[in-house]
Structures are given as C-alpha cells and as structure tokens.
Symmetry: C2
Subunit: 543 residues, 2 copies
C-alpha cells in the first residue's frame, strides 16, 4: 500500500485528490476563508480579524523568504503573549521555517545557547527582552514594539516594517511532508543544557484537534491566553483556536485580577493554567464578584491539581479539565477523562478521582503505560510506582541535533517521561513524582505529591511544595514549604500536627517552613531551588 | 523528510514512538479502555458495553481469520441498523478485511453483482433479507438472527455461533499503512452498474473526527441510528460515536413515532437524516408532545433542506446542522458553518442562509470549488452555475477495480461530484441540481431545487419533487409532484397559481400532481422513477 507524499506525487497528481498534509496551516487557511471578519485575536482594544491575521502572516512569511529564509531554517522569537507571537505560529511554518519560541524568563546565557544550538537565522524579540540578546547574535533581528516604554534595538526593522515589506498574496506551499518540523521547543534544562524538542506538522495538527476535543472548544470559543505561548507552543492552543475558528484574547502578563476582568469583558469560554494559576484565581477577591455569562472551562496541567483546588473550582462553577504531558509530548498527552459515575461521589472523593492524570488523548492512538526498569507494566493496583512512558502521534520527533539524547529518551520504543506514577485498576495513571523529586526515607518511597495534597487540606494553607531534606538517620525526610492564604494564620507546628493526623507518620513532613515559593514563568514551582538551598554543602542523591 | 510506514519501520522501531496509524480501530480500543462499562450500543432492552463490544469484535475478527480471511479480503453485510452491523464496522477491519455494507433495498440481481464485483469471501446477512441472496453465492455465509420471524439459511452458522468460535484476545495488527482500504461502498448506480467506492483508514478516521466537530458530539452523546449504516458507513458515525465514547441507539427501521419515543426514552442528543426524515418527524403528532430534556442536534444531508423545514426545526428547538457530500466523500464533506451575524436575520432569511451547502470540513484541508468545464472557478456571484469539485483527506481512494471510472472522476486532480451549484460571495456553495436533474426550458437552466423550495412554502404542502417533463414548444417544462400535509387541502391549480405568484413564470411548474413520492431507503426522493414514467416512449435528454 502506498504512502502519500506530496514530494513524490506532485501537486496535481491524482494521488493528491485524496491526500492533504495534516498541517496547522490549514486551520488558518480555513478560518480566514470561513470567518474573514471574525476576531482571531483580541488584545486590549485591538481586534485582528481572521482575514487580517492571514494577510499579516502571509506578509511575514513572504518577508522571511525575501530575507533569505530557506525551508527548514530556524526562526527564534522571544515574546510574551502579544499579537506577533500568535501570528508567528503560522507565519514561520507558512514560510517553510521552523519556529523556536524561547522562554522569556531564561538568562541571556541560556538564550545565547539556544540561539546558537538551534542555528536560528532570524530573531524576533519583544523590546522588553532586548537586554537578553546581543546585536549581531543572529543574522536578522526584528523588533517587536508592543510596549513602547522599552527602547528598540537600533539598526533593525520593527515587526511592522518587516510585514509591510512582505506580500499579502497566498504563499507557495513549502511543505514536503507532514513530518516536516514545525517548531523546536527547548526544555527547561534543570539538568544539563536545554534540549530542543522537535514537533512535526502532523503531530501539531492532531494534538490541536485533541485540545479542542478535551477542552470542548468550538467555533464560539473565546480563549484567554494566560498560558505562555512559548511553552510547548501554548500546549498547541496557538493552532487549536484557529482550527475551531475561535477568538484568542492575548495579554502581556498573567495577573489574576486582569484575568477575571477579561473573562467578564470578553466573555471568555476557555483558558489554561498550572494549578498555581488556579490557586491565584480562586483566592482573588474578584473570584466572588465575577458573574460568568457562559460556562468557563479551565484546562490545567504542569503539576497535579490538589483535590482542594479542584473542589474550589467546582464551587465557583468552573469546569476543570485536568491534562498531563511534557514538552516532549506537544504539551498535554493524557486527560483525566470524566466518568459519569463520579457524579455520585462526594465532592472530596470526586476531586481525588479528578486529580489523577488519566488516559491518552484519542488522537495519540496509543495507551500511556507505567513500567518498571525492564519495560514491564507495573500492576494496576494504584500503589506500585513505575515510570510513565508514551508513544503515538503526539510524541516529539526527537531532540534537535542530539541523537544520543533522543535514543535515550526513546529506548525500548517508548518515550520515557522521567515521571513516576501508579496505574489504577481503572487504567488511569496518577503521578507520584518526578523521578528526581521522589523522597526515599528509610528505604520507603514517599511521593511528594501525596504529601502536598494532605498539606493543602489544612484550612490556612493556600499552596505548598514538599521536598526531601537530609536526615542522618532516615537519609531523607519530607519538608513542606507553605504559602498561607491571605489573612489566614497557622504555625509550622500546627501544620505538622495536622499532617500526622491525616497520613502515615513516616510520610508526614518533619519540618514546615512558611513563606513564598520560587516559581517558573509558567507557574511551576521550582523544587530544585528549594533543594539546592537545603542540600547546600551536602552530597545530593542522584537518581 | 521521511514518511512513516509501519511496514517499513517495524513495530518497535524508534520511528514508531511518534507514529500511530490513523485508523478508526483506535477509537474502539480507547473507548473499551476508558469506558469499559458504558453502553456502546443500545437496542431495545439490550445494552452492549464498550468492553463487550470490543470482545465481540475481537471474536468476530478472530473467527474471520480462522475461516480463511486474508488481509484485504472483502466481507459483505446485508443488514439494517442492528447490533452486528455496528460491530462489523470494527470487526472486519480488525481482521484486516474490507467491509462491504450493502443497501438492503437493492434487488437480488444488484446484490449478486456487488457480491461478484467485490469478490466478497464472506457474507453476513440479516435473515429478513435472505431472499436477496443465494446459498453458495459466497464462500462463507453467516446468518444474522435479529428478528426470529424470518427463517435462517440452513447449513450456515449464526452470528452467535460465529463469534463464539473466535478468541476474545487482542488481535494482531494487520494494518500495513493508514491508506489500507477499510470499506467499499457501492453507489446507487442510477446510471450503469454500481461502482465500489473505496475508503481508507486515514480518511475514515479523519472524517469521523470531522463528524464529531460538526455535530457537537462529545463523550456524553447518545446517537439515534435513523440513518442506515450501509449508507457511506453511516456517514462515518459508525466510527465517530466510538471515537467520542458515546452511545449508539440502534433501530431496525425508521419510523417517526418510534424515533420520537426513543429520543425521549434514551435522552438522545444526536441523529442524522435526509430532509424527508426531518419532514416526517416535524409533521408527526409526537413532535408537539415530546419534551426534549437536552439539546437535540440533527445533522441533515442527502438533499438540500428547504428553508421551510429548517424553520420548523428551529421552532421545535432542534439544532440542525446542514452538511453535504456523496458516497465518494465518506458522506459529508461540507457543512453550512454557522455565522454569528445570522442571528440577526429574520427566520426566513436565516433559513435561506442555512439551506446552503457551505464550506469544506476542517479535516478535508482543501476548499470545495465550483468550476466550469475548463476547471476555472465560476464567479462567486451566487448565480453562475458550475460543477462542485472536491479534494482532500475525505475523498475516496478511487473506485474498486475500475481505474477508468476513477480517472474520469478524478480528472484534473479533483473529484467531480456531478452536482451543479453556485458559489456565493461569502465562499459558501449552494446546490442547484444534480447535473442530470437540471431542467433546460427554452434554453434557460431551471434549478429543480429552487422550484421545490418555492412549492413547499405553500401552507398545504408537506414535501415535493420537481422534474422536467416533455413540452413540444419549450423542450422541457417543470412539473411538481406534491405530498400534502395530513388534513390539508389544495388543488393542483392552487399550487400552480401560488408558484406563479412567487417566482419567475418560466420557472413555475406548469403541472402539479398530488400524491406520494417514490423514495430510497435513505429517504432520498427517486426522481428517476418519476422521470421514467413521464418520459415513457420519448427520447430522454442525456446530460
């Protein structure tokens, strides 16, 4: 049986009657055709219709080619969630380029490494982040002038200069295969140098449809961009919203008050965020004031949401979809798929079910497994820990220019997540820890997530992170870092006692420290920062 | 760039980490995993859960292989919408076979042709339709014993015998490529012999997702099977409902009263039907009695719904999605995609917008065009007629064992529908006629659809069909065949006068005949039956 490939078949061959590349480019093409006058992007008072977005993307694509971009060349962007960032997700692949969207919280050194490793020929940089780049570092630099309080880099065109120079006409189809790379997303690289995760057009297309299925996104969706687009291409929602013909509401920086205001003003139906984003929103005074005019779905990932925050969201009338994945899986890969029988559970018990990571997306076409070191499935008993491994249509092509790391990650024919989980009898996975986060205390494995979920049940606790700290007798013991709710009071001893009342004593935190938590730009708690401090001067356990 | 193919890569190669065939088989696999205890199929008092459906399909697949089926062999089925019919859509491809679901209204001769042309090695036949087959016609025959009032074919196993003999274990993966043929659907063949339209796994997978997007189908969907599954594999809903994890409600025969009763009893969310089905349901007394407990979406195709019936459905609180396609396009290929601005129109004007056939599905990844004989697009003026041509992921692979017909249908690199339409300025197509139905009167083209839409505005008219009849002066003139609403009265002259008041006189029917309309099993009006009668003894125009 033949496998279709445009390169082999020629653009007007009979074979192509029943073949079209699976590429997100088709989403913008269709929405510009079907919804030319509908807002594709809303940003403050600006509205960009689908016809305008298409024209602007064509112009950027045309200007990229005119400035020497060749098929497969990398185009880097350092930008918050503003209009050009949304557009570049189409403009770059439209030109046959590969998008490298870089985390704005990285240091200049880290960014220099990514620019060099990716071999980016173009760099689009929001002027707020100019200080992270050096003139001449990349052949072509373009200034994104969103906030004029930041000075532009002299001698380089602005985004407007750039797209104005391009042609508004339909661009040539540069795609040779649906497995062509569409983007490279660099991992955060807590161990060693960041690795460049390659997505292909087919995977991006399918995962985008997967997001729409999971998050109930249809053509009337209004999506609030609280999630950074540089994070797994915004979990593929940069492509999925145009797939549905919905509207993207951009914002420069996440702030719970502004998020609530935009939800009200723009009639938002969907947003995404790590559980910390949910916590910030649930605990903001506006949470009680805003009247939702339509159902709001928040899709959460990045860390397991505690049953506590799931319960709070339910009480606010917000539908939470809990998904899980990694940069290597186009963002979300599994979803805690709702079961009707959960309606009959108590809110607590229901939240416990929903805090699990669940099952593969339908578009993955493969089961998520939890395996031991020999790649055997662990018993589905909800207790035995193993590593989460995935495969299927939403797993990366590999690490860019790093065959060794790719081979390691893909050993045994599965992608190794490095996350530890249990498999429940119903086939749902539940994360216990990152392999590097698990606490080994007196020979017992303690899941930091399990401990955290007990700590946040304490009525005064808003958020917490648990790590293992050195102990001469046990090797390691759990320590909890706790943020209290505004106006709430509790002592470290109160919380230790609460935990000992509510879980096995060997798992309960021996120490509690009250204060703030270090976080990444995407709202993930940086446990390694806490660990570095606690283990300073001692030899850390290597997993 | 490489194109993945399991045959080339081997089942455990690294390449397969990020590749899984797009096949509907993955849908059942996932739903049996995620929703083992949820009803996949409801039929009368029977409920088949997803776990049971999977086991039964595995058993049938295993028994097919044990009885000599080899990859690519054809398996025919003649059956109404009962349990085995739904299951065979998975069991046959699971065994590596190709499903040939045959229209139960065909004659024994037509069926004999299809069995012979397809070279079917197996035939599964519902005992009601035994008289359409001959013992020994096919190597293996299996009796579907749904209604025991029909005698079985002696000497052949029943479906239960057959699946009981098979293994409940997971079956080997026989698929070599996602372009392997999953089914062959024979056209109705009003001109010449029926042609076997080949669907591949990838197209079936993508069109199934397209149906769910178009019809708002999620995991809580309850789908009522009024549409025959032998018609384009039930427009791919046989695969799309398991893709969502929804429930299929089977029924042996469409009847508006039973449909209303099942909608109420099973809490139905979705069904499909030709406009005649909508008309039958809207005009049934139960329409006014049934209280919908949840939103009901009816997806309609097969003929353009008149603005009148769209208005009636709206009044009943039913959401109608109007789609259009052919056997060659996996059923629906375009959808009259809703535009927010239509909310502000009068019900009449809105219904006129919604009676158009619209734009390609998102998964087609290609625009539907209306072209002249030289394949140039006709002006998008809503007036100039041309032929509808399509391409993309939901266009057939070709006609089975008929390269000439395939080449003709695919000339110029597009599938030629044989349907005449106009292109509106907003990019939506609107059908005017089948090429063979158009009336040419005194050199003017008259769209029979346009005439019909005026006739059904008459308050006494329930349904109508217009054809051209011989006229010595004009060549042809329009004649309307009309069904009146129950209890309504109107004369042929009344209706002629009404039409002359409401449209150009040359388009108004010169004759009206009141009575019943000949229909196919799928509810399509058989205009050729009317034409054969009217043109008896005269030379018919050949288009």
């Amino acid at each position: 049986m033949q496998v279709m490939d445009k390169a082999a078949a020629g653009p007007h061959s009979t074979a192509n009657v029943y073949y079209a590349h699976l590429t997100p480019l088709a989403f913008l093409e269709r929405s510009a055709y079907v919804y030319p006058d509908k807002p594709a992007i809303v940003y403050g008072d600006r509205k960009i219709t689908y016809a305008q977005m298409q024209e602007r993307c064509r112009r950027v694509a045309s200007a990229l080619r005119a400035n020497g971009l060749q098929t497969g060349d990398r185009v880097a962007i350092i930008s918050p969630n503003v209009v050009p960032m949304a557009e570049m997700h189409f403009a770059v692949p439209m030109a046959g380029g590969v998008l490298v969207a870089i985390n704005i919280r990285l240091s200049a050194d880290e960014i220099a490494y990514i620019l060099e490793h990716s071999g980016a020929k173009f760099l689009f940089v929001d002027t707020e982040f100019n200080h992270l780049t050096k003139p001449g570092q990349v052949e072509h630099i373009v200034n994104l002038l969103d906030d004029r309080s930041f000075p532009k880099l002299d001698g380089y065109p602005t985004y407007k200069d750039f797209y104005t120079s391009g042609s508004p006409e339909e661009q040539p189809d540069w795609l040779e295969s649906e497995y062509d790379t569409i983007s490279i997303n660099y991992t955060s690289g807590t161990t060693g140098r960041p690795k460049g995760v390659m997505y292909h057009h087919r995977g991006a297309y399918l995962n985008a449809l997967g997001e729409n299925i999971t998050s109930h996104i249809e053509s009337d969706a209004v999506y609030l961009w609280t999630l950074p687009m540089f994070h797994c291409n915004g979990w593929c929602y940069t492509w999925s919203i145009p797939a549905a013909g919905g509207t993207s509401v951009c914002l420069r920086k996440f702030d719970p008050e502004q998020a609530w205001n935009l939800i009200e003003k723009e009639n938002v139906s969907n947003m995404c965020g790590a559980p910390t984003v949910l916590i910030a929103m649930a605990n903001h005074p506006r949470a009680k004031e805003v009247k939702l005019k339509r159902p709001l779905t928040i899709t959460t990932a990045g860390a397991p949401p505690s049953p506590t925050i799931l319960g709070q969201m339910e009480a606010l009338g917000i539908r939470v979809e809990h998904v899980y994945g990694l940069t290597e899986t186009y963002g979300p890969h599994t979803v805690c798929q709702w079961q009707d029988a959960w309606s009959d559970l108590s809110p607590d018990e229901r939240a416990r079910q929903r805090a699990r990571q669940g099952v593969s997306y339908v578009i993955a076409n493969a089961r998520t497994r939890v395996v031991d070191e020999d790649m055997n499935d662990v018993p589905a008993d909800g207790e035995t820990m193993g590593e989460v491994v995935m495969r299927g249509n939403n797993v990366m092509k590999g690490y860019y220019d790093n065959p060794e790391a790719t081979a390691t990650a893909f050993r045994g024919g599965w992608f190794h997540s490095g996350d530890l989980a249990v498999m429940h009898p119903d086939g749902y996975i539940e994360l216990r820890d990152r392999a590097k986060d698990i606490i080994i205390s007196g020979g017992e494995n303690i899941s930091t997530i399990e401990v955290e979920q007990v700590v946040v049940k304490h009525p005064a606790v808003m958020e917490c992170a648990v790590i293992g700290v050195p102990d001469d007798y046990w090797g390691e013991v759990p320590k909890a870092f706790v943020v209290l709710k505004p106006g709430a009071a509790a002592t470290a001893d109160d919380i230790v006692a609460f935990c000992r009342d509510n879980m096995a004593h060997f798992k309960a935190p021996k120490y509690v420290e009250i204060g703030e938590l270090p976080k990444t730009s995407t709202g993930k708690i940086q446990k390694f920062v806490l660990r570095d401090k606690e283990w300073a001067g001692r030899e850390k356990r290597i997993n």
